[in-house]
């Protein structure tokens, strides 16, 4: 069945992800006549009440299968906690919807593969929400790498740390049973996706984290190998790090601070850093020619662009921004990191505390 404008949209999960990521972009696209939010589902009375206030024209129900069957959205956005993505994607596909699944695709490779299989069986599009691909500095860095401006890429170091500030509506993100993991699954999934996008498929070499037996990791360090490009990724939920992304090539280095979306610096060996202009842009309309192009200036505008590319995929047959296959590859890296996680070295602690912290690591025998 051909999809027409406005594209009918559903969402499963009315928590912080829908509220803080998607509400304003969906409203902006609705004002342009491109989307209409018709269905919302959440088991919480409080969140459903909130959703009714935000999208008064939409049907809001506790049961996702029912509301999707009755309203027939063309695209369903899954914004529920990661362990529920599999079940919710199945409901959406059964209702005939295409799916944009907020990252991570699932909380395990098995669950992620099942989502992918369902999309193929039902011949539906599956996109994964990875907004960092729309960061202008990262897209520009990719242009540089593809154009060979650094020569052969040798190595990179990615570091991102700050105190957790996402306005969650429960403690689900901090319990392994309900979240599947901590900073690696939260921020790491974004970063691993963009590292694969920049440098190609990766192999997990080493993984360290600081989760205790009942917790999820707040700090994670992984070492990767992208067929000859050696990489290190360090993430923190509980402290400021000297955050930045450095890529070293034979003919120079690229550096991006974490935070500003549009700052990219380059230096040749032995030279000083220069801030370079950003030329990366994306289609900003739903015409086949895609002549209206733009560059997001804020994180929230990245979500606008992500949704526009998803709508273009539905209406024009262009590629989804991040495919289910790519989402699954990233998930496989996260799985590998978790299964091989060693206790993170914390040499600033007194020796006795270091030893006890190692004993409390979630992979240690109690």
């Amino acid at each position: 069945m051909a999809i027409s404008l406005p594209v009918r949209i559903g969402a499963i999960g009315c928590g912080a992800a829908l509220e803080h990521l998607y509400v304003n972009p969906l409203r902006r696209l609705a004002r342009r006549g491109w989307v209409q939010v018709v269905a919302l589902a959440d088991p919480s009375d409080r969140r459903r009440e909130w959703a009714r206030g935000v999208f008064p024209g939409a049907r809001v129900e506790a049961e996702a299968a029912r509301v999707l069957a009755e309203t027939q959205p063309a695209l369903t956005i899954i914004t529920s906690p990661p362990p529920l993505h599999g079940a919710h994607a199945e409901i959406a596909f059964q209702a005939g919807c295409h799916v944009l699944c907020e990252k991570p695709l699932a909380d395990s490779v098995v669950a992620g593969r099942r989502i992918l299989d369902l999309a193929r069986e039902r011949e539906r599009l599956l996109g994964v929400g990875m907004t960092r691909r729309f960061y202008p500095c990262l897209a520009e860095a990719r242009r540089w790498l593809q154009a060979g401006q650094l020569g052969r890429v040798l190595a990179y170091d990615y570091r991102e740390g700050g105190v957790y500030g996402w306005p969650v509506t429960s403690d689900a993100p901090f319990r392994r049973a309900s979240s599947g993991g901590g900073v690696l699954l939260d921020k790491g999934i974004h970063v691993l996706d963009l590292l694969g996008w920049l440098f190609g498929p990766a192999e997990m070499i080493r993984s360290e984290d600081d989760a205790w037996q009942d917790g999820v990791e707040a700090n994670s360090i992984v070492h990767l190998d992208h067929r000859g490009v050696a990489g290190r990724m360090q993430l923190s939920w509980d402290q400021d790090l000297n955050s930045g992304f450095l890529i070293r090539g034979e003919r120079g280095e690229l550096m991006m601070p974490i935070g500003p979306l549009s700052q990219l610096c380059f230096r040749q060996p032995g030279q000083a850093w220069q801030t370079v202009p950003i030329q990366a842009d994306w289609p900003g309309d739903l015409e086949a020619a895609g002549q209206v192009r733009g560059t997001p200036r804020t994180y929230y505008e990245c979500i606008d662009y992500q949704l526009i590319q998803m709508l273009r995929a539905l209406l024009l047959g262009t590629a989804v921004p991040v495919s289910g296959e790519e989402g699954l590859e990233t998930l496989a890296l996260v799985d590998a990191a978790y299964s091989r996680a060693e206790p993170l070295e914390q040499p600033w602690l007194p020796a006795v505390e270091q030893a006890l912290a190692r004993k409390r690591h979630w992979h240690s025998q109690p």
């Binding site: 170091d157 500030g165 996402w166 917790g215 790090l241 202009p277 007194p350």
Partner: protein, 362 residues
């Protein structure tokens, strides 16, 4: 053993207190947080936190049940500091808490330039910094209730530093960028207390069979200047201290950005901001940034410049170290670690956090 409630457990001090108490044992600690997100800093431990918000005293009373001691480590909006203290005190009374330990700030004495300053002196109520005025107001409210029920002990730490602290990461960042600066040749007193030294005071109070209500300044043993501190960090990072910019007093001028930030703190601006979504605030901030400093059309030299703020200029003007003898006189000498040992451990953290000069993986 008796239960110790940590109100504001999701902050820097709270998280370290919990980590230490579990690893070293001996204290039964009840973490209390205001919002779900506050648990992010505690995620790795897997603690079950109690939820309690000073704005909803009944929630706090329930959270405090069964606790003999409550330590207030909350870091709320300045406009809420005094009100929250009254609420927490009332909740302690309701819950039968015997000792309420409140963390004030050495900043209530400004640049410590009043002659004859003692630990029992009244704080300045006309400080230019809203944070310090709010802390002073809270102290004054507690002063008349100190010997009541619960007993009130107020500690006044200076700048709390240690692995993961902004007072370590900030200087390290500026040194690494080449933007570190000191005023007046760095002769001002850097009033530091290492987080573990602060916790040592808190543990002694929590374990004391009898508490002496009142007000206590707490600090590291050593007296350091700002240049001493920056030079120590620089040494650990392998950076030449000569790269630290020496700024004259006249270098501080309230910048346009500083004045705009000041305007943003007015009651009207706060009301407007409260009605705006996070996305709207970010969009306006980005628009201002793009207007002041548009994205470059051609390659430009990347030259970070020192960001001189009024806070930094003020703090570096501290004249003397506050007296701290009262605590030891009453409770005994706390087991404080030396600055040298603390900095050696901090250096390990600096390398972990990427501030040391490390090449990317080869």
């Amino acid at each position: 053993m008796s239960r110790i409630a940590i109100i504001g457990a999701g902050g820097f001090v709270g998280a370290r207190f919990l980590e230490q108490s579990v690893l070293r044992g001996g204290l039964e600690v009840v973490p209390i947080v205001r919002s779900w997100r506050s648990q992010g800093r505690l995620a790795r431990f897997g603690f079950l936190c109690r939820m309690g918000d000073a704005a909803k005293p009944e929630s706090l009373t329930a959270a405090l049940s069964g606790c003999r001691v409550a330590i207030n480590l909350t870091m709320g909006d300045n406009s809420r500091i005094a009100g929250d203290v009254a609420s927490i005190h009332a909740a302690c009374q309701q819950a039968g808490v015997q000792t309420f330990i409140h963390l004030s700030s050495a900043e209530v004495f400004g640049q410590a330039d009043s002659p004859g300053l003692t630990e029992d002196s009244s704080p300045k109520t006309d400080h230019w910094m809203e944070y310090a005025r709010a802390k002073a107001e809270a102290e004054n409210w507690l002063r008349s209730r100190a010997d009541g029920n619960p007993k009130v002990v107020v500690l006044r730490p200076g700048l709390i530093w240690g692995p993961g602290s902004g007072w370590l990461a900030g200087p390290a960042q500026s040194l690494a960028e080449g933007t570190a600066f000191v005023f007046n040749d760095g002769k001002g007193i850097c009033n530091l207390i290492h987080v573990d030294n602060l916790i040592a005071h808190l543990v002694m109070l929590a374990e004391a069979p009898i508490v002496a209500p009142g007000f206590y300044n707490v600090a590291d043993r050593e007296t350091l200047t700002w240049l001493d501190f920056y030079s120590a960090v620089a040494k650990e990072l392998g950076i030449d201290p000569a790269t630290i910019h020496r700024l004259p007093e006249s270098a501080y001028r309230d910048s346009l950005l500083g004045r705009l930030k000041g305007l943003g703190q007015t009651g009207l601006a706060r009301n407007i901001k409260r009605r705006m979504s996070g996305a709207q605030k970010i969009r306006i901030k980005q628009w201002l940034k793009d207007t002041v400093s548009p994205p470059p059309a051609d390659p430009q030299p990347h030259r970070p410049t020192p960001q001189v703020t009024k806070d930094a200029w003020w703090l570096q003007g501290t004249r003397s170290k506050l007296p701290t003898a009262k605590f030891a006189a009453i409770y005994g000498e706390p087991p404080l670690q030396s600055f040298e040992d603390s900095m050696r451990a901090a250096a390990e953290w600096l390398r972990f956090a990427g501030f040391g000069q490390q090449p990317p993986p080869a």
